[in-house]
């Protein structure tokens, strides 16, 4: 009995030591800064994928880096707050076959809308900064998980592509069929229609590989679309959802 108690106390003390060992590097303030660099991969996608998207034939990440810093403060052994500023450059190229995909294009006050069946190629790139404010929970001495909202500001953005190998039914599925072959794709560029910011939720895991070095991974899951609500060209809300994986230095 006594031995058991002692063993338990020893274990608690060891755990205590580990929290101390792997804890914030500044013991007085319980605060610090984490410098992060990582790889980003993901896409801007409607969720869930609508039935009109029949297959994704090509997917290629474009860009995909994040560089930033988080300031954190631990209020207790387990709980803390983290505020960050992360620059990112991310994007992707995708080719999808769509069926009866509702689309409309506005240009110089002219409007063409209808239902497209065929191939749709999209390239999108975004350069901007994400500002997350997250609550941090220490699961174990070496594992942190943080979650919370973020806002992303875009400095530069493109969203362009082309449609071909198919046809548009103008207006609705009973309208005039307009053929579009691969030799003569219709190109589009909705870069200027994109919003300059969006918000979402960030989930981030930190694993303390060394006393000053973290391995981190997580996801930035946007909750607002990249196009305004009244932008009817792309019928579905498009959400940027990007996973990241990288190394961080803790001060």
């Amino acid at each position: 009995m006594c031995v058991a108690l002692m063993a338990s106390a020893t274990a608690a003390a060891q755990t205590e030591d580990k929290y101390e060992l792997w804890g914030p590097t500044s013991r007085d303030t319980q605060s610090g800064v984490i410098i992060r660099a990582g790889y980003v991969i993901g896409g801007t996608t409607p969720l869930p994928l609508p039935a009109e998207i029949r297959s994704i034939n090509e997917f290629k990440p474009l860009g995909g880096i994040t560089l930033g810093a988080d300031a954190y403060h631990m209020f207790s052994r387990h709980w803390g707050l983290q505020l960050g500023w992360h620059f990112f450059y991310e994007g992707f190229h995708t080719g999808a076959d769509v069926k009866n995909y509702r689309m409309g294009i506005t240009k110089d006050g002219n409007y063409l809308e209808g239902n497209f069946t065929g191939t749709d190629i999209t390239d999108t790139k975004m350069f901007g900064a994400t500002i997350p404010l997250t609550a941090t929970y220490r699961i174990s001495p070496r594992w942190n998980v943080s979650a919370g909202p973020f806002v992303s500001i875009l400095y530069h953005k493109t969203f362009e592509g082309e449609v071909y190998d198919g046809y548009l039914r103008e207006g609705d599925p009973t309208g005039q069929k307009v053929e579009m072959t691969r030799d003569n794709p219709a190109t589009y560029d909705f870069s200027d229609n994109m919003l300059n910011c969006y918000w979402g939720l960030q989930l981030l895991f930190d694993w303390k590989a060394m006393r000053h070095m973290n391995v981190f991974g997580g996801v930035d899951w946007a909750c607002s679309g990249v196009f305004p609500g009244d932008f009817e060209t792309v019928e579905f809300k498009m959400f940027p959802i990007y996973a990241k994986l990288g190394l961080a230095y803790r001060y």
């Binding site: 240009k107 409007y111 046809y167 009973t174 391995v215 996973a243 994986l245």
Partner: protein, 418 residues
Amino acid sequence: MKFYKTFPLFALALATLTLHGCIADEPANAECDIERCWIHLDQPETIFYHDYDTLAGEPVSVDRPADKIVPTSLDSIVFTTRWNATVSQPVPLYIEVTPGAKLYIIENGREVPFTSGTAVDLHATAIDEHAEQHFVVRSEDGKWNRHYRISIQVPPMPSYPPEGFELKFDSYALNSAGQYYVWTESNPFLTEIQWANGNPGFRMSKSSAKPEEYPTVAVDEGGVDGGPYLKLTTRDTGGFGRMVNMRIAAGNHFIGSFDVGQALNGQAGALAATRFGQPFAHKPIRLRGFYRFKPGPTKQDRQGNPMDEADVCDIYCVFYRNTDAAGNQVQLDGANILTSENIVGLARLNHDEVDTSGQTWVPFDLPLVYTTEVTEADVKENHYSMTMCFSSSIDGAYFRGAVDSELHIDNVTLECEY
């Protein structure tokens, strides 16, 4: 162990990627077209000029002349017989619709499922005396439907007016949606002239254009004898036009049909969109009329670069054999209207002698030059098609021309031998 602990991170990244693998079940078809339609007769040659006249629509392409499909723009399917034919017995009618769609015939106001191949009453005895059957096609997803009318019609007896076919462009109206002008010929006892132009294609690139801003426009006053005339203007197609590399639309007006479904389909599609000619039981010998032409300031190439030459208009009339050696339908289009081996007679404005002042009405008189002799019997059997075409830019079919080139046309007469 360490890798195991970091595994959730990789899993998370992979989960985001595999979102793209979540493909939902294929939605039911939303389209509801009559794609093919034909009638069966044991001896079609007694009722029709050509066997292929029992197939509705247009050949899919030049390479597949025997495969005719119904253009999606049509909601009235008409089989045109010989002028002296009568159809009194029910005719087996074959209809192919969009896969999954359901076809109904309307009988006494009720929709009755229709089985392709059923004999229906399509009697036709004389001009404007014929039965018309109504059909509804309902899409597989049940959300859409289209109504069609199908009939056999007897055309008027071909008769040649001694003064020639006078075309004054004074019978026009806006299309049903009020977007642009369409022309008809008003005399029901003469061969109906089917006027077409590129306005339906222009509408897709410039939905905001008013009827007067289209390439092909009717002007109420100021013609040769004071009345209406035809105004053709080469227009800028705007942002959409640039998207598909079709920066200009020449004003054109021709006999035939315009397949708007091909209009945006690249250079080949644009040439295929202008389907020239209609069967014509008269032998044309000259095309006369009046024009007024003023070129736009700068001719540009397809990419929009300025060209070192002036724009000029085009006027021509072509008479061609409308059947190939295998008996298939031949319809010339923008790619071969001036070069096809089927052409037997051609008249064309001499471009070096075009009056470019744009001030006064200038007469033109273009005799058809025949390279192959035709027999009256063949002509009367509708073995030839005739077209005439007016364009504000001679290279308009290749998207080369000067914006604002303007061609006015009035009081055209087609003189025939018989």
